[in-house]
Symmetry: C2
Subunit: 344 residues, 2 copies
């Protein structure tokens, strides 16, 4: 049964009594006499031979069909869905996927870029840690490696991008809240170095203006990252105000969850004490009580579309210089903003 350990094309050639070239041809469906091919196939079988993809790609100067997805954190269901979209399209096209979590840490991100470049991946899908990623991208661009940004877009980035319409999504969410007669709306945001933070903030301000509401600095809390802790701090800040906001717009799902958990600790109620809404679905959000008013982004499609665009570049099809795909979020009204407040 010859289950030996490391077999190479030579071993197969020897066993089949042919040259390595003939084996190579069998492997790549080249022209080989049926009889010879069968002999080679048997040898492959008997030796448990698996060709070395890298030796192949090295000599043929082709990629090893590996894609890299560098993103904040696979735990967040929003990113998980992006990842699944990427994987599905990658797999369908016979690419393998490497997933890296940078946790919004630019250093970790940079380290990954470097080792992925060393691994000669065929292309990069990136949810960047922030604007500083632009500098790190030079590494990738210097190697002429196809790449695409997802969800977030570093300032002045030029290149392919797939993301959501944070500006208009924020406005819609705000319009919904305002239509319920809230006039004092707190905004819990991520760091301004991330494009989605900036865009949602602009949407927030724009919505206030459109509705003749005055903007107040103390109603905006800027977290150090898109996390639960920031949301808890935001709550503390809001509770310390003379005039608390009656409704909250949280910049993402994590922050909304953090806010709710912080409220619970204080035995406070949604939407009585605070109405709340956010970007991006909670996992099994329909089972959460109260259900959350959300700007739902098509995360899975972010992944599939981005991967398709990336593959077009990798496969060298002539495509425009840069492509930007913006998908609109969908407003899902939930119980977390239910009920009216009557203007006094």
């Amino acid at each position: 049964m010859g289950v030996s350990v490391l077999n190479n094309i030579h071993d197969v050639a020897n066993r089949a009594g042919v040259s390595t070239m003939t084996v190579s041809r069998v492997l790549n469906n080249g022209p080989v006499k049926k009889e010879t091919r069968d002999r080679v196939l048997s040898a492959i079988e008997e030796l448990n031979y698996v060709p070395n993809q890298f030796a192949k790609s090295m000599v043929s100067q082709s990629g090893a069909r590996i894609l890299a997805l560098v993103m904040p954190d696979i735990i967040n269901p929003f990113y998980t869905n992006v990842a699944r979209g990427v994987e599905d399209v990658a797999n369908k096209n016979n690419y393998t996927l490497i997933i890296c979590n940078h946790d919004d840490d630019p250093l970790k991100e940079a380290k990954y870029f470097k080792s992925l470049l060393s691994l000669k991946v065929d292309g990069f899908l990136i949810i960047p840690s922030g604007d500083s990623t632009k500098k790190q991208l030079k590494m990738i661009e210097g190697q002429r490696k196809p790449h695409i940004m997802i969800d977030r877009k570093p300032q002045n980035y030029i290149g392919d991008y797939v993301g959501g319409d944070s500006f208009n999504g924020a406005i819609e969410l705000m319009q919904h809240i305002i239509s319920l007669n809230h006039t004092s709306i707190g905004f819990i945001n991520g760091p301004p170095s991330i494009s989605t933070s900036r865009d949602r903030f602009e949407g927030y301000k724009q919505a206030l203006q459109l509705n003749g509401l005055t903007y107040s600095n103390e109603l905006v809390y800027e977290g150090e990252s898109f996390d639960e802790l920031s949301a808890e701090r935001a709550l503390e800040a809001f509770l310390a105000l003379e005039n608390r906001p009656t409704a909250i717009f949280a910049s993402n799902n994590n922050m909304a969850v953090g806010f709710i958990r912080a409220l619970r600790k204080r035995n406070m109620d949604i939407p009585k004490d605070f109405a709340i809404s956010c970007f991006d679905k909670l996992e099994t959000g329909d089972l959460v009580k109260p259900t959350m008013t959300t700007a739902v982004q098509p995360a899975y499609n972010f992944g599939t579309i981005a991967t398709q665009l990336l593959l077009e570049r990798i496969e060298g099809n002539p495509v425009e210089k840069q492509r930007t795909i913006i998908l609109r979020p969908e407003l899902e009204a939930g119980e977390s903003t239910l009920g009216f407040i009557h203007r006094s």
Copy 2:
């Protein structure tokens, strides 16, 4: 600035006026005169040179420091947490992680095994699709590739394994339900080709016996997979019974979610119509109403521990023939099983 595209060790050597070996030594912290080293370093910088990891690992017969995680579906938060545990330990040890979703499809799994073998990954972490994975493992074993099973364990599998105590976890969950005076308990299970299904089923039966309750076939629904659809079918089956169960033990989180969603469609209530409990946390489960009674497994630790064990094998430390780590789940009682039923 010489941002040319593909630079190799030769280009660097030429630019620095040294041989490729000197460059190689600089790259690997070998003995090089400081002055020479600096020249090489400059050349590397100027040429934007990134060494080719595969060429290196090919010639030095060492791995490229890549781990493969083959698992059912990254969308399920249980597996997501496993994946995150794996990634963290991999990263800490300078390994890169390839993630593949097999969706409980043995064919997809086999295809992945093959291409990962071709990619010469250093080791495999596997949440197998079922018992049939044992056959496919031969491929991996034939290449003497280190590997470890997580969560599930194919029948008669011999080798490293990290998982939960499904049998005792099921008993604990059942004891909890029975202590609330439920005597008719429905069990929604996954396919028997998966070890966790079998173990939980055994626990279910054992708990009945321990409490003098009779086992009834019609109270057990065996899904084709651990999914929501199966749970909905289970509900239909239970509703058709003359004597419905009053409590449900769902074999995993997906199924519990599916069951709840199916109940909601029918305007039925938890725990009034059915008390329910399951294995594995729901994401943001604390926000779900009613909160779910759960046998919580330390998914993240499954990942970290398995990866540590795998790395020991890869790095060739002498370890025992096989190691099995069983982590006990923790019972978290929730509102989904709240309230007593008085025996009539």
